[in-house]
Amino acid sequence: MSNEIWHAPEKLLDGFVADPGEIDSAAAASLEAHLLACDRCRGAVRARASESALEDSWHRVVAVIDTPRLSVVERVLIRLGVSESTARLLAGTPALSAAAAGSVAFVAAGFVASSRITESTGGFLVVAPLLPLLAVGAAFASVADPAGETAVPTPLQGVGLVLRRAAVILTAVFVILGAANLAIGGAGRAGRRMVAPGVGAPRWRAGARYVVPG
């Protein structure tokens, strides 16, 4: 071609990639202007770069973009004195949040409904304590998110994770049922019966029909 487009000569590129100071600032500045518009010369600079430095640079970016933003739940937990990493563990998975909310809502609704109908809450009492556990199990099954990936490096830690999440869900169930209990008043006994096994109390009070193993 008669009208060849200018590209940076090897020597200029070498000087640019070497420590600053190798080429004078005017030449560097004009190369910089050229780089903004030239794929080919950017590629030539890239080819001269250290692979390991680029790799490090990429990992630093990944470290930030793979860290999920703090959710409302996490911020509340941190306010309450839970450490940030634990808060992420506990609230990190959307599945956990959904399962926990669903289970709590179901338990509370069932409790309210059954106490409205009759003092004897019967079969629901048997099932209710298992719901939080199901919720935790469902949450544990989903480990595809960043919090799950980093949180479950080994099966052993996974068990600890289930227990910690279970503690949080059970606490939430307990608090909500306590509130419902106060609101309903008369049905208090049934509510307490239901909560007792859920939180693992060995014996709730004299009227309790459950004795939880352990």
Binding site: S25, S30, L35, A37
Partner: protein
């Protein structure tokens, strides 16, 4: 395999495509890092700025208006991240990352823009006529695309000085390019 343009990569990134970000990083991190290193000798500060640049690209790719060179857009973010990093290295707020994506607020004149289109040799020649302090101002405003205020921060001189030096530089370059 089809090679994607930077513009296509940015649009994929705006839809959450991490591989696209990785490719974009691979193409641009090297020259961005080198160019920042010419403006800041502290390699840790530069590494922070490069990291924040690509995090900002990840979060804000949708804000690229589709005009001009993606490389210029990335550079606009990078140089502002460097200024941010230099200003308050220890306590800058990462949550405000998206605030640093450049809007169309660059103050260079049409005449200045012509400089960017000049052949390498001629531009180097014209810039070579300038004293180091005038060159630094031209570099910050015309080549880096900073506002007067941003250039003042980067160079550690008052905004008024940036303006007067820029005027002197224009006069000298007009002579050199004539």
């Amino acid at each position: 395999m089809r090679v994607q343009t930077d513009a296509q990569l940015l649009s994929a990134i705006s839809e959450g495509d991490r591989d696209a970000l990785r490719t974009l990083h691979d193409r641009h991190a090297a020259w961005v890092t080198l160019r920042l290193r010419r403006r800041c000798s502290n390699s840790d500060v530069v590494a922070d700025a490069v990291q924040d640049t690509f995090v900002a690209v990840w979060k804000s790719a949708a804000r690229w208006d589709g005009r001009g060179e993606p490389a210029a857009w990335i550079w606009g973010i990078a140089i502002r991240r460097l200024i941010g990093a230099l200003r308050s290295r220890d306590r800058w707020n990462r949550d405000r990352l998206t605030d640093v994506v450049p809007e169309s607020d660059v103050i260079t004149t049409a005449e200045d823009q012509v400089l960017l289109g000049i052949e390498h040799g001629d531009l180097a020649g014209a810039l070579g006529q300038l004293s180091p302090e005038l060159l630094a101002v031209v570099q910050a405003t015309v080549l880096d695309g900073l506002t007067t205020r941003e250039a003042a921060k980067l160079l550690g001189i008052p905004a008024g000085t940036v303006k007067t030096r820029m005027m002197r530089a224009r006069t000298q370059m007009r002579g050199a390019l004539a």
